[in-house]
Symmetry: C2
C-alpha cells in the first residue's frame, strides 16, 4: 500500500524538469502577440522573441555548443542579451554574463577560468575583448551584437543568426544542471564563479512573481544589469507574466525618466545609486508617477533621504536583500500598514530593512556562529545571516575550498552581520569584517555611514576601523564632498555626535576620492590600509 | 570541467524538497500577527494557526500516523479542515478529504479502498460515518471536529489535541511523496483515488499565485469545498501570500453575500452553480462590490447569462479548467483587452472559454488521437485535451490499469473534446463521450445545453444522443423547468432552431427531474439509457 504513495514512478506526463525555458515556451503561445521587448522604437512580440531565441539556439548548436559549455557575453542590457537568457539554456549551455565595467585583467581571467567556448559581444566593447584575448594568448569565436555604425569583430553578426531554422523546445534531463555562471566582483581577491541551475532559476522567477505581486503584462524597464545575478533573475520572471521589457540606450537619469513616462513603466529593478540619481536629477515628470512605479532595490540599504525623494517622484520602493550566491534577492522588506503613520524619515528607515524571506526560500536566519543558535529577536543582538533554499548556488566553479567554506554546517553563510527585530524583520548591521570594535562595543559602519550621508556636503562616505591604544579601535571616516561644497573635520564629527552615541562617532575624518571597484563598490580594504598606516590618533 | 555543471552534489543548504508545508512555516514568521482564519467571530493569526497545526501533527504522530498513512476527513469547509491541509502532510501522511454529500455506500468504499487509518469528522456527519463503518464491518479511530451542541463519536476532540506539544517542522525526504488522495466522483463506476504529491502541490500553489495575480494578504472566502481537489489547492496558495481565510457557516446566498460585504472579501473560488445562486438571489449589496471581487470558477462553462449577472454584482470572473487528476485548474481564460468592446453576451462567451495554460503547466494541447497531431487553431477542428506537467497526478491509487490508460503515449488524456481558437485559446466542445453525431456532423451537447439554459423557463438541461434511422443519431434534450414555469416541447425546439443550425436543435424534449450525483453532476449515462429506450422518433 505504502509503496504507491512513496515510489517515484513518474513519466513524461507527470514529471517535467523545472527550467525557465518552459516560461518562454508558454509565453510564445499565451502572450504570442503581446509586446515582449522594445528598444530604439523597435518592438517585438513574445512569439517573435521566441522565434529568435530558437534560431540563436540552433546557431549555437550548429557551432558545437551544447550541455555544460560556457557562453560568455559582454553587453549592456539589450533585447539580444535578454534573448540569450533563454537561447543559451535551451541548448543546455551555461550563460556567463560579464560585467562590462571590469578592467581588462579581470575580463581575461573570467574568460579563461570559465572555460568559455564562444563570446557574444557588443561592438563597443570589441577593443576590451581583443585586449583580453591578447592577455590570455587565446582567441575565441565572437558573435557581434547589433550596434549601429560599429563593426565589432566582423566574423558573424547576431542578426544574421536569427535566420537559422529553429531549435526544438527542449529541457535539461536533470533540473539541477547548470544554466548560468556569474562571477562575483569581490572587493579583494580573484572573482569567484557562482553556478546557477535550472531548478533554482525556475523557482526564483516564480517566487519573485509572488513576492512582488506582479500583475499580468507589466511594463518593465530593464535597469539592473543582466550581468548582476542575471538581472536578479527578472528576465525569467518577466516571461511568466508576459511583461513588456523596455530597454534604454543609456542609464542617464534623463533617458530613464523619459522611458518611464513614454512607455508607462510599471516596474523596475535598480541599485540605490540609480534611485538617488533619478530622485536628485530634477528632470522628473511635472507630477509624480501615478499609479506609482514599483521599484525593487538591493545592495547597500538606500539612505532614508533617497527613499523620501524617490517616494515624492512616484516610486514605490521595496528593499530586497541577497547575494550573487543566492540568485539575487531572497528577502524583501514587505510593507507594513502601521508604517504609514510614521514620520517620513522613520518610515524610510523601516523600508531600508532587509525584511523577511521570499516564498521560495526555506530559511533566512540570523545565527550566532559561536553557539550555532538563532539570536534573540530584540533588534540588538547581532549574528550572521544564514540561508537555506533551492535558490542557493550549486557552488563556486572549480573552487571546492571556497564552496565548502560557504556551505559549512548545512547553511550558506552570507558574511553579513544582522539583527532580528521583534516583528521578525532582519536588518543588516554590517558586513562582518566591517565591524569596528571600540571599548568592547560593536560599532556598525553602516550605521555611521548612514549618518554621514545625511550631511548636505557629503557625496560618498565609508567608515573603517583605525587602531586606537585606549579603545582598541576607533571610527575613521573617509568622505568625498559634493562638487563645490566644503566641510571641516570638526563640523562633521560634531554632526555625527549630535546623531549618534559618542563612542560611535568618527574620531578622524579624511577627505579624499573613495577608491571603487568597476561595479562601484567602495574598496574598504584600501581604506583600511590607509587607516592602519595612520596609527593611533592620540599618539601622533 | 563539465562535471561541475552537471553533477548534482547538493546539500541541505541548496536543496530543499518542494512541499507546501514550507509555505506555512514561512507564513508563521512573515505573517505571524496577520489574520489567517475567521469563523463565527473567532479570528486566529498565522502564528496561532501554525501552532495548532504543529500540535495536531504531534497528536497524529503520537497515534502512530506517519509516512504514507491515510488520514480521512469528513467535513465542510472549516478552519480545522484548512489546518489539516498542513498538519497531515507535516507528518508525511496522506490527506483524504471525502465529499460530505456522498451516499453512505461510497463513503464506505473510500474509507476501505484508501486504507484510512483515522478519520476526522464533523459531528453532524457522525451518523453517516457510523453507517459506513457498519457497512465495512470495520471501525476506525475518530477525532471529532468542533460543532457547538453536538457530541460526535466522543472519543477525542480536535480542540483537546491543540494542546499537544508542537511537532517540529519537517519536510518529506522525497518531494514526489504523496500528500493527498482525492476520489473522483465519476458519473459511473467506482470512484478512483487520485494521488497528489508534495512537489505538485507546491508548484500548483505558486503557479496559482502567479496566474491569479494574487496580492499580499488578500481576503479569501472559502467556498469551493476542500474535498474537491483540496479546494483547488487554494489553501496552500493562500499561505504563500498570507491571506485571511473567511469561513462561512453555510453556503446560502445570503450567508455568502453577507460575509463578502462584512469582511471585504477580495477573492473566492466557486462552481458556476454558486455564482448563479449569488447572481440571482437578489440579496446582493445595494451597489456592486468595488473594487470587484475576483472569482475563480471551474466546472461546466458558466452560461453567458450568469456571467453577465455576476459582473453586475461586482464579481470579476475568471473561468479556469482542470480535473481532479491535475490538482484542479491547469488552464485559465486570461482576459483580453479587445473583449471590452464586445457586446455583453459575446464578451461573456469569450470569458467562458477554457483558455491558456497556467505558468506551472508544461503542455496543454488539443490532439487528434487518430493522427497524434495537434489540431489546427481554427476554432472548429476538434481533438482531445492532452496535458503534461508537474501538477498531473502521480496516478490512481491501487489501480494500475486505469493509471496506464490515463497516461498513454506520454500524455495525460483529459477525455474532453475541444477546439483551439486562432488566438490559442482552448475551448471545450464536449466530454468526448457526449458528442452527438448526426448526419456526419458532430454536435456538441454543451453548445445545445447552453442555448437551452437561455430559455427563461428552464432550470437545468442535458442533451444526449437518441438513435435515429436516417441521421444515425439525433439530439434529445432533457429539461427541468423552474418552479411554477411552463413550456411546451415545440416551443423549446423552435427556441433552439432560432439560435442553432437546424441539425443541432433537439428533435425531442423530455421534461423530468434530472438525475444527479452527490456532487451535482448530471448523470448522463442514465439519460442515455432513457433516450436509447425511446427508439427512433421517426419510427414510432
Amino acid at each position: 500500500m505504502r509503496s504507491e504513495f512513496e515510489t517515484a514512478d513518474f513519466g513524461p506526463a507527470n514529471f517535467v524538469p523545472l527550467s525557465p525555458v518552459s516560461f518562454l515556451k508558454r509565453a510564445s503561445l499565451v502572450y504570442a502577440r503581446k509586446p515582449a521587448t522594445s528598444y530604439l522604437g523597435l518592438t517585438r512580440s513574445w512569439a517573435e522573441v521566441a522565434d529568435r531565441v530558437r534560431a540563436i539556439a540552433a546557431a549555437l548548436s550548429a557551432r558545437g555548443i551544447g550541455i555544460g559549455d560556457t557562453v560568455s557575453v559582454l553587453s549592456p542590457n539589450r533585447p539580444e542579451l535578454f534573448e540569450l537568457h533563454f537561447a543559451v539554456p535551451l541548448v543546455g549551455a551555461v550563460l556567463n554574463t560579464i560585467n562590462t565595467r571590469l578592467e581588462c585583467e579581470t575580463v581575461a581571467y573570467i574568460l579563461s577560468h570559465s572555460d568559455a567556448k564562444l563570446v557574444f559581444a557588443d561592438p563597443a566593447l570589441a577593443d576590451l575583448l581583443k585586449e583580453a584575448f591578447a592577455q590570455n594568448s587565446k582567441t575565441l569565436p565572437v558573435i557581434d551584437m547589433p550596434r549601429t555604425g560599429m563593426h565589432g569583430f566582423g566574423q558573424t553578426s547576431y542578426d544574421a543568426l536569427t535566420d537559422t531554422p529553429p531549435h526544438p523546445w527542449s529541457l535539461p534531463q536533470d533540473e539541477g544542471q547548470a544554466l548560468a555562471l556569474n562571477y562575483t566582483s569581490g572587493t579583494s581577491g580573484k572573482p569567484k564563479g557562482v553556478i546557477y541551475h535550472h531548478r533554482g532559476a525556475y523557482l526564483m522567477a516564480l517566487g519573485t512573481v509572488a513576492a512582488w505581486s506582479l500583475p499580468q503584462n507589466p511594463t518593465y524597464l530593464s535597469v539592473v544589469p543582466m550581468f548582476h545575478c542575471n538581472g536578479w533573475n527578472h528576465p525569467w520572471a518577466m516571461a511568466i507574466v508576459g511583461a513588456h521589457m523596455i530597454f534604454a540606450e543609456d542609464m542617464a537619469a534623463e533617458t530613464l525618466l523619459k522611458a518611464m513616462a513614454e512607455h508607462r513603466v510599471t516596474h523596475l529593478g535598480a541599485a540605490p545609486v540609480i534611485l538617488q540619481m533619478l530622485a536628485e536629477s530634477g528632470g522628473g515628470p511635472a507630477k509624480p508617477f501615478a499609479p506609482p512605479i514599483k521599484v525593487m532595490t538591493a545592495g547597500a540599504p538606500p539612505p532614508p533621504s533617497v527613499l523620501e525623494k524617490a517616494a515624492a517622484l512616484g516610486l514605490e520602493i521595496m528593499q530586497v536583500y541577497g547575494l550573487t550566491e543566492t540568485y539575487g534577492h531572497i528577502s524583501q522588506c514587505l510593507w507594513q500598514d502601521a508604517w504609514a503613520d510614521l514620520p517620513a524619515s522613520e518610515r524610510a528607515e523601516k523600508q531600508a530593512m532587509q525584511g523577511v524571506a521570499l516564498p521560495m526560500l526555506e530559511d533566512l536566519r540570523v545565527i550566532d556562529r559561536q553557539t550555532g543558535k538563532d539570536v534573540a529577536s530584540d533588534g540588538a543582538t547581532q549574528g550572521e545571516i544564514a540561508i537555506r533554499g533551492n535558490t542557493v548556488m550549486k557552488g563556486y566553479y572549480k573552487d571546492t575550498q571556497a564552496t565548502e567554506a560557504a556551505f559549512k554546517d548545512g547553511w550558506f553563510w552570507s558574511g553579513d552581520g544582522a539583527v532580528v527585530h521583534p516583528d521578525g524583520y532582519v536588518q543588516i548591521r554590517d558586513r562582518l569584517k566591517d565591524v569596528i570594535i571600540s571599548g568592547g562595543e560593536n560599532i556598525s559602519s553602516v550605521e555611521v555611514e548612514a549618518i554621514l550621508y545625511r550631511h548636505p556636503a557629503i557625496a560618498s562616505a565609508a567608515v573603517v576601523a583605525r587602531p586606537h591604544t585606549r579603545w582598541g579601535e576607533a571610527t575613521c571616516a573617509f568622505v568625498e564632498l559634493r562638487p563645490g561644497m566644503h566641510a571641516a573635520e570638526e563640523e562633521i564629527i560634531a554632526f555625527c555626535r549630535q546623531r549618534l552615541a559618542g563612542f560611535k562617532a568618527p574620531k578622524t575624518v579624511i577627505f579624499q576620492d573613495l577608491p571603487k571597484t568597476a561595479t562601484g563598490k567602495i574598496q574598504k580594504y584600501i581604506l583600511r590600509d590607509i587607516a592602519l598606516s595612520l596609527g593611533d590618533p592620540d599618539q601622533p
